[in-house]
Assembly symmetry: C2
Amino acid sequence: MKLANRMKDLKPSDIREVGKIIAQKTGAISFAGGLPAPELFPAEKLDKVTQRLLQTNASEALQYGPTLGYGPLRGKIAELMSREGVVANVNNICITAGSQQALSLTTMMFLNPGDTVIVENPSYLGAFSAFQPFEVNFMGVDTDDDGMDIEKLEQVIKSTPSAKLIYVIPNFQNPTGRTWTLERRKQLLAIANKYDIAIMEDNAYGELAYEGERIPSLKSLDTEGKVMYLGSFSKILCPGFRVGWICAEANQIEKFELLKYGADLQNNQFSQMQIYEFLNSYDLDEHIAVIKSEYKIRRDLMLKVIEEKFPSEAKYIRPNGGMFVWMELPEHVNTRELLVKSLEKNIGFVPGGSFYAGGECENALRLNFSNMDREKIVEGMEILAQVLRDNI
Amino acid sequence: MKLANRMKDLKPSDIREVGKIIAQKTGAISFAGGLPAPELFPAEKLDKVTQRLLQTNASEALQYGPTLGYGPLRGKIAELMSREGVVANVNNICITAGSQQALSLTTMMFLNPGDTVIVENPSYLGAFSAFQPFEVNFMGVDTDDDGMDIEKLEQVIKSTPSAKLIYVIPNFQNPTGRTWTLERRKQLLAIANKYDIAIMEDNAYGELAYEGERIPSLKSLDTEGKVMYLGSFSKILCPGFRVGWICAEANQIEKFELLKYGADLQNNQFSQMQIYEFLNSYDLDEHIAVIKSEYKIRRDLMLKVIEEKFPSEAKYIRPNGGMFVWMELPEHVNTRELLVKSLEKNIGFVPGGSFYAGGECENALRLNFSNMDREKIVEGMEILAQVLRDNI
């Protein structure tokens, strides 16, 4: 049987492939995946609310529920949006299977085969995997410390009539850790309005700020309904529940409902209610504070080893939040080859080339600091320093 | 912003729309949705295994997991496949967000825009919603008490070069309740092999048999890897977890992994582990026996009211299993109009026209007997009998 054309160019995610190799090694230290610290999951609190749920409301929690999500949780999420300066109500929220599904549904909503998504260069590689099955093109626009290069963006839009969507991660970007300035955000919106192009604002990491002021979200600056805001509980609660959301105009959410219904009818009802009960019973800010305090320490430990032990040719970006340190090595170093050597020493990372729309830039790497404990960060980074010294 | 072409023809599911209306009425009796009986969910047992999970293995249960699903659950599902006469191992299983997602991913795997899915006439309307966003056509082939009309099927295939996939529900079909004979199953496979077309075998209801022998699944008869078998825990455990699966050849499962990754990275890890622990700790057959015993009583009560109180012009199919009774009224009766009158009396059902690929046949209706308790079935069916008598 012939497969559909879309299957032709699909290939496994480098993150997941590195993860599979690491899972088979004992004692490996992984800076590869974007995994939260499992020891910080609020297991006891979730145990309490889950028991209550199963003992008092199992018939609702285990049953089918609405396509757009569990109503009370949608309401809570609408309230959470005020943290991002967005005035929203339940009709502005569609709950999705993590923000990954939101990437997929937004692509479906706006793009025909042959259309183009504009992404930051580099950008989250899982987003490429969400776009690809819809046979769209993606095109990278370079970024600097302030965000996307807006002049280049406008050039690309002018020369690419098929451009229909711009995908950005303005806070503690994956993979670079960079945060867009307010000025750039305003410029991006002006461009989107001028050329009538939708924006997908992925804010998976916004709550994980270790320093600096919160900068208004694109959605909070959006006066024309151009921004599809993607949020997630994966990094602030746990990823195992697969609960994320889209915040958009109510008439857009009605369209997302049709796509969500076709894709999987609805999200896991049980986990939506677990999260609702958790938010209702405990202080989310208190929990986020615990995560931030630990991740900040881990980031600082990672940066300390880099400063003290890495060869000076390794250039890196100091992130003010999120989960990643981005590093560029001299151009002659191929980090896919470096990974092979690093894995021999039981250390994993993701080669930077995977994050580029065009596959260019093979001399960078992404290091995650949230998943390993403090000791392993120091131990693993010291080994990696040695691998680098041996191979630069 | 212009939406993608696929958004043009999408419309809300009639099942969900009727459900929304009913949810707003107090004391309504619904024969509309395909909902299980919530009072039969094994809440206490799930409470026990869930507590154990959160107290002993929260760091795995709340974390990201593999794209194809939680390994031990994939193994258990492979074992379950032996009930259908299928020899499978972990590499033959991709866990999906209910079988709805399996419908969507299988469409993506085999169909280009403009290609055609052949469906039973009538068929599950949620499947149409899964197909539509991929801009495919669907074409219905009439069925009789033994299954699809194979001669007509072959004619359609011969005259439709774009036909790439045949979607069938061989056991206790939704909406008709019919079950395919072994002979028809073999004929279908012969056709699929002859014309090199993939089959999607949806077996959501197979375990809910109230009488009769189990007939071998299409997958068990499949010697050429043509059948994508779709299974689900929604009807035998609970739908709130959204856990279903695809059973296919290992090299096909590798392709599904790429689609699943793009669509949502992976299923809810927590609920996969809940189900695994449930299957490991309790006897699934014992639980299914409880469900079957109650549903059989409810079916019999529904049929009794039909026999005794419905006008004789109402022709219905007696189902040997599943959740639905299919009824055809005289041709002049439009069941969409009938529904309006029925809802005035607080009774819901799904008009039959929704289940036809071409929208023909507006004089049928689908009645669900699993979700309402015995008293409500009798009460609601008696009211519906009166509505029919007043409107035929």
